[in-house]
Symmetry: C2
């Protein structure tokens, strides 16, 4: 949406994204590429200096490998490690290699512990060892503790810098404590936080106080009086996907993380969860599209290799469909119109099944299907398949009759259409359910199984009915 | 991931979701359905009472229409309006109807203004008029102001309750002001907030102070000394999708919203943005699957109708493919093996194209494609198509030769495969780009255009080459 206040600035009127995203117009990149080509380091630095680290990350992603290396060499000395957190994995690996592990470690030491863990965990083991050596001891301990938790767990996500107060403190003591810590050493407190946690003598969390409430309360009031005692405690091993679900489900902004003994070990804040929500959904989109992971910035050879395996699986289902057609070679030889029409039935079944499957896969991911409503959903999809089957039976039956002048052929395609659309509704719901039950990610595997079924039923139904009715 | 601390509790060990999501096991729902069937209102209330409003919303979604009505009637008197914010649209409409507009208005009046707007905007006009009448005047004004902004804009998303302080105040004055407001009237301040905003005499924002920083600073320090002056100002008309992009790109937690004159009118916080990020991605997933919107809870007839239109478009492309096959009826009549093998070429092109298209559509949504790298990405996908084309040409050529004992047939399918895979790479990148440029949502339309192209090229290439080489 164009910001009316900006429309007088010329290009803003034709570049609606400009208002929110500086790189949208591409002019900056154009200037940068020119400066890099001319070897004008000073101009490159001038162009980069005013940018947010996320925009620098985007620029690095957009450049060709050579330009990227040239840019890294120019900005190496004041490289902001936050850039690394924002990069696509493939590009990040390349840049870490170009920077060298010593420069990376120096940059990473400047980050908060949770962000630092996120970078270090991507390095291979030898790099990790060398990298950690270059990080100061205090920071290193926090990072190593973070790395000790399982990948994609709450422990990796959480901030370990926390503000905790005992149950017997009041608001005044808490504020004074924070002011005092700020005076002593900046690093003892997280740079930004939203809640302080009240803990018992065993360091178990008993309540949380949002800062906005703390600020509105008079100094003598005990913290236990204004704390929220009903908190959702997150076990440190919880998968990040479950953490994200919980934050969305409960509209949480921050949540305490506890170890096996129930002791407070960290806190997860919503800004960390936003990235998880986004990543998990992007991952699902990629998987449903048959891509293992976003490979926009991967080399052609790597992309070919990673997509090949998925296409092989699809080839198997295509050959299966061909085998079914092969059963009816004799029938097709007599009525060649069947070869012309047969893809219609298979394709419509595939599309109707994909619609149902998409809704079911998402419902599973959102934990919306359970014993109470699963059968009702399957029943509904059968009904939808039946309704649409009848509608498209009429349409395609009419087309076939008109095209080949054979009412019998129209009846055959109409019957096959109804069968395949109902099967599509059944398969679109049950395949994801069965895969989920079997521990297979339904987002990855549902599509290929579904197509196999709708192809086989589509071809077998149509050609089989034709053999029965027309010959 | 199972929480080790809970494994001794019996079912928790076999129900890994239990730790984060109470409804996962389905036992509560089972008990609830029983109590509803028995008409045991007291037991229903007991079961519902300890639940979070989001869980009650989930329960309502899972129930059948009759059970849902029975439950509403039981909990009508102390109905928590937050439940409405968490409901699927279809179910929400049904429940609002059952509750009656007076009860809905009474419940909505309890919400924060941004949440209330979210409910009211879903009502039809007559309901809105009646609903607003039942809401107290002060709250109503805020809601009506919210509704005056365009749908899906920053104005609808923002909280209008704000803490603003003049530039000449210090930390002590700010804290005293907040404590004083809290004493006077609870409603003057938002219930939870993360930043206070420093404004000039024209009420233009000049800086933001995170609460955690305010708390760590001594009373005499001026707010201008600790504020962040570099804020991203969001124009009130900005589309919510751009707002979400900005929050992710800049790792924002809250941002001031300004009107056309640059005056501060509200603030968006990250918890509002989380829902937008999630909705927009879910919407994209649904669209890529050929579903207009999540219709899990819609009636079968409504679902049939909304999916029908998409299937009609697909029928058109399927008929187009059939027309292409029809051109080669004479060829198929002579070599019926062509009918058996032809779906393989079309299907592999479709799958390879879908992989490329998925990556491209997401890259566009994430603003990752621009003049600098677009041609490089297209070039890469052509290369990937070529590489995989050659690999699958060898595979399918071998299969065809072995199956039908004809090396010439193997050569035909191999050549057709290479052509279609390269076309798939080209189409998978350029179709989304062209659609986006034409103002058509690439997530909706790319798939059907892609399939049309890979089907036509697949069938025409294979059958055409066969006619040329084999006859």
């Amino acid at each position: 949406m164009t910001d009316p206040a900006h429309t007088t600035e010329g290009h803003a009127a034709t570049e609606p994204d400009e208002a929110v995203y500086e790189l949208a117009s591409g002019r900056l990149e154009h200037d940068l590429v020119e400066a890099l080509a001319a070897g004008d380091g000073a101009r490159v630095k001038d162009l980069i200096a005013p940018l947010h680290y996320a925009d620098v990350a985007d620029l690095l992603e957009h450049l060709s490998a050579d330009e990227r290396h040239a840019l890294i060499d120019v900005i190496r000395d004041d490289f902001d490690a936050e850039i690394l957190s924002e990069l696509d994995e493939t590009v990040r690996d390349e840049i870490i290699e170009r920077l060298g592990i010593a420069d990376v470690a120096a940059a990473v030491a400047e980050l908060e512990s949770d962000d630092a863990v996120q970078i270090i965990e991507e390095l291979d083991e030898a790099e990790q060892r060398r990298g950690r050596g270059a990080i100061p001891a205090g920071e290193r301990t926090l990072i190593e503790e973070g790395l000790a938790y399982p990948e994609d767990s709450a422990g990796r996500l959480m901030q370990r810098e926390l503000v905790t107060v005992p149950t017997f403190w009041n608001v005044g003591q808490t504020i004074d404590f924070m002011r005092h810590s700020a005076d002593l050493e900046e690093d003892a407190l997280p740079s930004v936080f939203y809640d302080i946690f009240v803990v018992d003598p065993a360091h178990k969390p008993v309540g949380a106080v949002p800062l906005s409430r703390l600020l509105r309360t008079r100094r003598p009031v005990p913290v236990t009086e204004i704390m929220d005692a009903e908190m959702k405690l997150i076990p440190v091993e919880t998968d990040q996907e479950d953490v994200a679900f919980l934050f969305r489900q409960r509209d949480l902004v921050s949540a305490p993380v506890v170890d096996d003994g129930g002791r407070l070990v960290g806190a997860i804040t919503i800004d960390d969860v936003v990235d998880v929500i986004h990543e998990e959904l992007e991952e699902d989109i990629m998987r449903m599209g048959g891509v293992r992971e976003d490979d926009l910035y991967s080399a052609a050879v790597d992309t070919t290799r990673s997509r090949f395996s998925w296409l092989v699986v699809n080839l198997a289902t295509a050959v299966l469909a061909s085998l079914v057609i092969g059963l009816f070679e004799a029938t097709i030889e007599q009525i060649v119109a069947l070869a012309v029409l047969m893809p219609i039935v298979a394709s419509m079944g595939g599309n109707a099944g994909t619609q149902t499957m998409t809704v079911t896969v998402r419902a599973l991911a959102m934990k919306e299907l359970n014993p109470t409503n699963t059968f009702r959903v399957i029943g509904k999809e059968l009904l939808v398949g039946g309704f649409n089957g009848i509608l498209f039976a009429a349409l395609t039956g009419g087309v076939a009759w008109f095209w080949f002048g054979s009412p019998a052929l129209g009846v055959v395609i109409a019957l096959a259409m109804i069968i395949n659309m109902v099967v599509a509704g059944l398969a679109g719901t049950t395949i994801p359910l069965v895969l989920e039950r079997a521990g297979i990610d339904p987002a990855v595997a549902s599509g290929v199984v579904l197509t196999a079924i709708t192809d086989v039923v589509g071809f077998f139904g149509f050609l089989g009915l034709a053999a029965l009715i027309l010959l």
